[in-house]
Subunit: 343 residues, 4 copies
């Protein structure tokens, strides 16, 4: 069986493994105060053209979202998110466990519309029951979204402008940011650093064993962030592990390479799906494809491949997810394409 | 100006005031351990035909909802509520501040449909991402609802049956329960005690200065409830004040009388609205009426009356709320009816 | 039986009752937006010589402490308090339920020592495990303390100076502030407003039915305080009740009168205790007296009086609390003094 | 410089690294549902003689403590801990951030005394202010303690008996459990499983890259534990990494070997310290040694070694920690011993 169900079912990129092995005998102080973390921070600040940004390394996405949101909000504030956003739908109420409401907004392909966002903020602030309403403090978006879609540069700038005009912070969940970078190479890390108050560069889904690099350009979010990490169980004792991984990722362009592999293979599969006339539930330029398949088609593909089960349409078909990753090979891709053609 | 905007803009019923004045010189131990509270608990247990129920007195509705929900849920659980429910919309995230997600469900007239509820619970439990999803622990309903509608006996029993079959607790917010009791005299306090695991009998909106009486038939919710009240700032030092008020309310049928006054006057106004051909946004058998009025009609009525601003329709009209209470007089009602006829 | 066990076992001062009765028929908008609240705020600002301060009315002390502390702290911060402080010992973990640690400090008569405080802050900030330690954000003191002691003007100013030098906020719990004002008339409300970032003027224990008036001189604590009150169940629907009570209290010096009655009677009792040679556990200039009594002495006094049980000494004696209040009469005082003399 | 400051400054045991490398190319479903996790769970259940226990793998200690405590407590409950316990002192208020108070108890060498514990529970339950007091729900102990001490079998059984008699749960923090197992081989994993309701077997400090294995013998703590892990950011996406590490640790006795290496080297160093007449701050049979050193002695040792800074005595000396680990070699030990002899 070849797995195309998600982008975290493989180990790590060989260069990451090699770096971990090579540094395994070193002794370092704990909690991210080692020289590898320092170097990785420096490389990320350079890549983001954000020399003043703080950079922190956490273990996973839900943890990262919870810590960032806790740092950003006051008790009476909530976080605006697409109703399909990961924090709204698939984190078992992590934001609420931290005391805050997720304020869900309508979405298209997982994206917020800047004008809808502006109007929602205005409505919450103008509500005659102002004091009985959670006030927005932060806007949460994902790039790419849960459905693999991308904000364009113009859209990202518009969202950012809406937030700044309203005095809200903007947080971009980049669990799969490498796939966005690879899919739209016009939108770069410095753009994210410029438009966002805080964002993260996902490692878990992009060839690290685990790890997310939080970048904080906005000074207001910097104080005692490490204390908050510790409090939420997000300060890894052997922080070196994260430093080494991100140091490797930001050396010789490995991070972008990982993204490109996934996008290239996914887009080859997409071409095969379209050629075959199979309906895409959403159009995605990144590493996730969502297709409607009949039960018979599913059975045929699932003989040799594990696909992600996404949703039922209520009728004869289901929506399945095909997900490539940094580890997907051309050979695996060829096999899947062949199976698609034989449907 | 006469206020018809809400049911908590007046003081208290004269008999309540008299009882407070009469007992003002008494000395009592604090925190609800006095003889008036004991007597009020006994009267409420009798009225509910629930001799084993625990009864606690709290100050206000949001506080009561927060304490009950905290007592009912485990950390990974959320509370199912109509999306229009007070806890979902108008308590500034009090449930979330306590660490739990409100799981919103579609509603009609503010009511949950038993079958929709059953299906929603089943879907949450069967979700392939079970561990990434907040699980339901409690169902929250209001009687009457935010829109003044009532669950019938059959509907209440059906909701209760769904909850029990699923192993969920049922909590009924009775901030306006007296108006429900007055509007549908076939559904009585023993019915609520039989169908619910916990509910409350609202005093603030029914002629008390303040106060809500929580009734807990289900043993599982009883332990250390008073500790939780104290923790959430809901254990009134001079608990006697609550005991005296509910003792008075449950003597000689005062609570029901207060409800009847409001329902009778509201239904007289409703007849006048219908006679005039003014469109009701929802049909309510209780003390709240929701009508669509043009700007001119609003201006005409708002010359002498304060109405509640509910919603905009987006067009030429707005939805306004006319709310009577235990304190609404026939004379006030006559004046409003006259103004309606003159529109 | 005459109760001397606490200062909240009576009703309210007759002038409060009269004002509530007189305004009972008025109609007002809810949640503290009425004219009585506005007037009471104005009177309190004047009394505090703090024209720019925000003033809010809450129902009880634990609730008030929880809301103020939530407003003041960031998630990684805790509140420094005497280990005997009410928030540390007797609020069932209300601060922790809000997500924050109470950082206990040693005390004398319930008071913090400015130098001890300064050193504790410095130690927390300089801890080599800084990120593994809750950082202080707020200092909590009570005036009078749990043991009835008073900070002198010099001590209060020193505590305030330590906080300001360290960039910490100072919160003074004034649940019994009226007794402090009466006992040390050199220290006035403007002093508290000048030295504190936020404090409250207690009504529940000083002749109101209930109610605490929060005064916020520091702008940083003002935003969305009412949203937070609502979220924590502390925004009373019929806010007028609080407005009327504090309006009355701050008219013709009633608040100070209430304090003086209690202090005068308590000091008369103290003189009798000393005359009799009964050991005081702490020396208190306010309305609370703590005495060590043998079992036989307790039995003799508890024939006609209810005293507060405070602590056991582990030996033949217990520490009991004698607490007067605004409602204590000279006649009640005479009876107790007589009983003391007869021991 | 050779580091003796803590037991998590090295990488992982070579066999762990080898296992991770060997399995790196495998594809697995996420979140701990893979075959390595299944196998590791089975091995741990066998080692604990607890065939019905649930076993979960988390990333770090603070995270593990927070999740277990959240699973165990109701909102009005707190956790009893030695005042020196990690949760009380060095987790930046993680327990409080979850809404619960840590109830500190006096300790000796970091240990709770069973009789002190029993009395503390009894006092909290019998407090006349019961409802104003956080009630205990859980007892937290560490084996070894923060100071490297061990509960004997008799002490552990006594603590367990106190908890069971009182209806409290017992949680044992085993971040360094391997060192305890190595130091007192009479006390085995089945003993911990028998005496505790939940405990964990630490990997981070014992030769894993990271990871803690929670063992839950008590059925009451099992429901939805994985949901809670997800909510608190503790469900690792590539769960396989944890499974592979613990599978390796519990094959051919590696876990115990790691412990033995550290204990053997530490005890050699201890002998050298005693021979030299250097005062131990606490006597520890495990891998941590605490010694009082003058400034000159510190400077001499810190020329070649990094030691842990523990505490100041206030005088001419400081308390330092010497910590060995699974990775400490005889050669490193010899060098340190030589330096000690030369002091």
């Amino acid at each position: 069986m070849i797995r195309f169900d998600c982008d975290y079912n493989n180990g790590c990129h060989p260069r990451i493994l090699e770096a971990l092995a090579k540094t395994n005998g070193e002794q370092h102080p704990g909690y991210g105060t080692d020289t590898h973390c320092a170097r990785a921070r420096e490389l990320i600040r350079e890549a983001c053209n954000a020399p003043e940004a703080d950079v922190h390394f956490l273990v996973g996405g839900t943890q990262t979202n919870a810590v960032v949101i806790a740092a950003a909000l006051r008790p009476w504030e909530g976080v605006l998110s697409a109703e399909s956003g990961h924090i709204a739908a698939h984190e078992t109420g992590a934001v609420e466990a931290g005391g805050h409401k997720v304020l869900p907004l309508p979405q298209r392909d997982g994206k917020l519309d800047p004008e809808t966002l502006r109007a929602a903020i205005a409505a919450l602030r103008a509500d005659p029951n102002f004091e009985h309403i959670v006030q927005p403090g932060l806007v949460y978006i994902s790039q790419p979204t849960e459905y693999g879609a991308l904000y364009s540069r113009g859209e990202l700038e518009a969202i950012s402008a809406v937030c700044r005009a309203a005095g809200l912070l903007l947080f971009l969940d980049g669990a799969r940011l490498g796939y966005a970078l690879a899919a739209d190479e016009g939108l770069t890390l410095p753009d994210y650093a410029r438009c966002c108050d805080v964002f993260y560069i996902g490692g878990t889904k992009l060839g690290c064993l685990f790890g997310e690099a939080v970048v904080i350009p906005n000074d207001a979010l910097k104080p005692c962030f490490r204390n908050l990490m510790k409090q939420r169980g997000a300060l890894l004792a052997k922080g070196r592990l994260l430093g080494v991984q991100f140091e490797t990722m930001f050396t010789d362009g490995l991070y972008l390479d990982c993204g490109r592999t996934a996008v290239r293979t996914a887009q080859r599969i997409k071409a095969a799906l379209l050629e075959k006339g199979l309906p895409l539930a959403f159009d995605s330029p990144t590493n996730q494809l969502f297709i409607e398949l009949t039960r018979a088609q599913q059975a045929a593909l699932e003989r040799d491949f594990v696909l992600g089960r996404w949703d039922t349409t209520g009728g004869e078909t289901d929506v399945l997810r095909i997900c490539t990753s940094w580890s997907t090979t051309e050979e695996q891709t060829d096999k899947l394409i062949k199976a698609i053609r034989n449907l």
